[in-house]
């Protein structure tokens, strides 16, 4: 009778949740922050977002065709989501080829080379972001102040095309570019200007929390990201372990160093709400494929990312360290999984079978 019955060796439970459903929920959770970001940065952001997501899907389709696989995996939405997350981490007015090249890097080199969904060692969107940041430092660090889409100083539809695709209008990028808070603090510190002076007029916590500030397309509005992340937490698509450990990993050293020297080290509140902290904690670090399996493992992984972000932001060459930190801890994930193994059902932590009637 071997082979006629499904493999039954332990109490298995199935939540009835499929990959496309998980992807769809993550997209729903991302929608408020995305719509807000697109509205905040106007038409150029809309075009860049569309180009990035479309390129990701095209790259995935091409890879599946080359590998001779069926297109069914294209429908699970993972390529759309990778492109989506990548787009949200790009400067909103970046030229179209940044999004296209980034999506190809994410899907081809970050994911399909390893064998597709579930096989990749590194978070595809973060692979692409780091590759872009190293290769095109100018385009990847040119941020603009928010210009809400139907506001007076917002670029119109045609000007948006000019910004993203480089034809059809005139927009002087140097005139509109603006520094993000972390970048500004970093360059001023490098010049020897103490933080109290740098931030005396430019730091408003409410702006950071609600997201009407200079930054990447979708990672600025902490409130909307928290709302979306809350949905995922409530549905138990992601567990609280990684995000909470990540925030603690930033906030604890951030608090300590800020207390030691507030003129040199940013306040932990800035670390928590500026740039990609909330976005990364809820949507990037929690990637199911590249994070550890066990809860304890996720705590280690999250805390590691948090500490590394703090280290890169404080002493590194780049103002923001989310992508680097996530990639480094992705590399450590197999090690963590090996170290923190879950207890096998019916056995104790050392692998010995449990005896009936309690401990002996």
């Amino acid at each position: 009778m071997v082979g006629t019955r499904p493999f039954v060796a332990g109490p298995f439970a199935h939540a009835g949740r499929s990959t496309p459903m998980i992807m769809a929920w993550v997209m729903i959770a991302l929608t408020p922050a995305t719509v807000f970001g697109l509205g905040l940065y106007g038409w150029p952001a809309v075009f860049l977002f569309a180009v990035t997501v479309a390129s990701a899907v095209l790259a995935e389709a091409l890879c599946l065709k080359l590998a001779g696989k069926s297109f069914t995996t294209l429908q699970d939405g993972s390529a759309v989501l990778s492109g989506w997350i990548l787009a949200l981490t790009l400067p909103p007015w970046a030229p179209w080829w940044i999004g296209a090249v980034g999506s190809v890097l994410a899907i081809v080199i970050g994911k399909q080379v390893f064998g597709g969904l579930g096989q990749n060692l590194f978070n595809p969107a973060m692979v692409a972001r780091v590759a872009l940041l190293i290769s095109f430092p100018l385009e990847m660090t040119r941020y603009v102040a928010p210009r809400p889409i139907f506001g007076d100083d917002a670029p119109g539809f045609l000007d948006g095309i000019a910004v993203t695709f480089g034809f059809g209008g005139q927009v002087n990028m140097d005139a509109v570019s603006s520094a993000s808070l972390l970048g500004h603090a970093k360059t001023e510190l490098a010049r020897g200007v103490p933080l109290s002076e740098t931030l005396s007029h430019g730091f408003d916590l409410a702006q950071l929390v609600f997201g009407t500030t200079v930054g990447s397309m979708g990672e600025t509005s902490a409130v909307l990201l928290l709302a979306g992340g809350g949905v995922l937490l409530a549905l138990r698509i992601v567990s609280w372990h990684t995000p909470v450990a990540l925030l603690a990993g930033i906030l604890v050293p951030g608090m300590l160093f800020h207390l030691i020297d507030p003129e040199r080290f940013l306040s932990p509140l800035v670390h928590a709400f500026a740039a990609s902290t909330v976005f990364g904690a809820l949507f990037i670090a929690t990637d199911l494929v590249t994070s550890p399996v066990t809860r304890t493992g996720q705590l280690i992984y999250g805390a590691g990312i948090g500490v590394l972000i703090f280290v890169v932001r404080t002493w590194g060459g780049y103002p923001e360290g989310m992508a680097f930190a996530v990639l480094l801890m992705n590399a450590a994930t197999p090690l963590i999984d090996r170290w923190v193994r879950p207890r096998i059902y019916g056995r104790d932590r050392k692998g010995r079978p449990l005896t009936a009637g309690g401990t002996r």
Binding site: V101, I109, V113, A131, I134, S135, F136
Partner: protein, 230 residues
């Protein structure tokens, strides 16, 4: 004679494609990753390695009868080191620009596993003519992979091909220098070490793909007449 030339062709083909140093044996990856940021550097390094490989294979094949098996490895290394030193000095004297770019990698040809590998696997068991042919085939196979990977990385990384070839290989080679994409922004990742790994990975995949297709074709060709008989 025809038998001799047929064997020589087989040896050359082995080195160029079937048993290519990088694409099949996966040897000598260290110099490959280090110097292939441009096509010119890859070509220079490949030619230097080829010169060394032909000479060491020839020398070792000539002295193979007097080297006892117990001491063969140190003896091979001494012969190789002597020849690499000669090549190193020669390039420094007559190709100083090339020497400045390749720098440490020329003396390091001594430790290149291909050289010792071919000495052990081929030159110590075959006559001088075939050994020299093997050195040539392996060397040229290595050169074309180095130049190819260098060309892809240079093209994607800075939009040029064979930049500074005239500085390195002499003024007549100036015609090689081309700017393929004017006003190119430069894809820095390709020139940095990750680019080397990425292009190497895709080159290995391409070789496997071509070989698989070839094997399929051959299998189809072999089975066809048989099925026609039945």
């Amino acid at each position: 004679m025809s038998k001799v030339s047929a064997r020589a062709v087989a040896i050359l083909k082995d080195g160029l494609w079937t048993n290519n140093v990088t694409l099949s044996q996966k040897l000598a990856l260290c110099p490959l990753l280090a110097v292939t940021a441009t096509a010119t550097n890859g070509l220079g390094m490949g030619l230097a390695t080829t010169a060394v490989l032909v000479m060491t294979n020839l020398a070792i094949s000539l002295v193979r009868g007097v080297i006892t098996p117990q001491v063969r490895i140190p003896a091979f290394i001494l012969v190789i080191a002597g020849i690499v030193t000669l090549v190193d000095m020669a390039i420094n004297a007559w190709g100083h620009e090339l020497y400045k770019v390749l720098g440490l990698f020329i003396p390091l040809i001594v430790t290149n596993c291909v050289i010792l590998g071919r000495a052990e696997a081929f030159a110590s068991r075959n006559g001088p003519f075939y050994s020299a042919m093997d050195g040539l085939g392996m060397g040229v196979g290595f050169t074309f992979v180095l130049t190819g990977i260098g060309a892809v990385r240079e093209l994607l990384g800075s939009g040029t091909l064979f930049a500074n070839a005239s500085l390195m290989l002499g003024a007549p080679m100036r015609f090689l220098e081309t700017t393929v994409i004017p006003d190119y922004k430069g894809f820095l990742l390709m020139i940095l070490p990750p680019g080397g790994f990425l292009v190497l990975g895709f080159a290995l995949a391409a070789k496997r793909m071509l070989d698989t297709r070839d094997a399929k074709k051959r299998a189809a060709a072999a089975s066809e007449p048989a099925s026609a008989c039945h």
